[in-house]
Amino acid sequence: MSMSNPSQLDRRAAVAALLKNRADTLVVSGLGSPTYDLHATGDRDDNFYLWGAMGGAALIGLGLAQAQPSKRVLALTGDGEQLMGLGGIATIGVARPCNLDIVVIDNQHFGETGMQASHTGRGVDLTAIAAACRFAATATVRTLEEVQRLAADIAEPPHGPRLFVIKVRAENPPRSLPSRDAVFIKNRFRAHLGFAAA
């Protein structure tokens, strides 16, 4: 349950374990810590880092998944970012892509702005919302072993969108900053998929 004791899981260790064998999965990261967490696993051409557009990470994932149906797409975001895009969970539930996973790194706080408690620490359960929006699978995990099992499980192709919550300790590790130049990151990402810059 989301009201239980705070998780002691280290977010960087969790994201590293989640993405260890990501292969050619395309990853979009939500603003704030998930963007730093993704960059800390190693800068790659198939990462798209957000520094704004709060609430948009999973939906960028949707557009990308629909345009690239043969690739797996992972939207890696935080509880605050996903809470701002709650309606998007309904939109993704209706669109029903079979190649999109949303993973919420949930520290139950708005970590970037002073660690104010978020809704997920007060009983709001994003997995229950996703399940009610017809997602094919949802789960909440709290330990590194569970994350490792999740990483293996999500490599199997699903029958629809999935949303997983990884509960982590509320702390801000040293920032690992990718480029803030969105045009550069966009063109690099598209070049990786074989598209020329305009």
Binding site: G56, I60, L62, G63, Q66, K71, V183, L193
Partner: protein
């Protein structure tokens, strides 16, 4: 000044569909509007275009950016009240120079029955321009078709963020 007269002979939604297909649009997302209903039906019946119904308009800004990352062109349909919902998400298109084509049916400006449509109608063009979106406007069917053709080229070939405002006079008075 002489005002444009709508030409009821022109089936402009079908013409817009033709223009957007010719521009290789592969994704359409929308929050419904009566003025867009025919275009929504045509895209929804098209197996070569992925259609997303949104809970709020800014979702379509994010989907269009994701589609472009994956090599596809998107179009986003909404009415003027929805523009207000989009403003912060438009940062993504503007700062990332993502092609964006929004077709916005205007409410609150011509024979409008509902006063609640008027404030956002007034704010539509200034708020789009304030965030950095280029606004084009059409009052007649002929002009609309040509405008959307030009807007599509600007968006997809020149990486611009364009909103085409479709005058309420063209759509006609809402029946109550």
């Amino acid at each position: 000044m002489h005002s444009p007269t709508p030409n009821p002979e022109i089936d402009w939604p079908s013409e817009l569909y033709r223009v957007l297909k010719a521009a290789d649009v592969r994704q359409m997302s929308y929050v419904p509007d009566a003025g867009h209903s025919q275009l929504i039906r045509m895209f929804s019946a098209d197996k070569d275009v992925i259609t997303n119904v949104l809970t709020t308009e800014e979702e379509g800004i994010a989907i269009a950016a994701g589609g472009w990352l994956g090599g596809q062109r998107s179009v986003l349909l909404m009415q003027s009240s929805g523009v207000g919902n989009c403003i912060n998400m438009l940062s993504l298109s503007v700062i990332g120079r993502f092609p964006l084509l929004m077709l916005v049916t205007m409410r609150g400006e011509w024979a409008e029955f509902n006063p609640w449509q008027v404030p956002m109608s007034r704010a539509t063009q200034p708020s789009l321009e304030a965030i950095g979106v280029k606004v084009m406007r059409a009052e007649t069917a002929e002009d609309l078709i040509e405008t959307v053709e030009a807007a599509a080229a600007l968006a997809y070939d020149s990486d611009q963020q364009i909103a085409v405002l479709i005058g309420q006079r063209l759509i006609g008075k809402k029946k109550w």
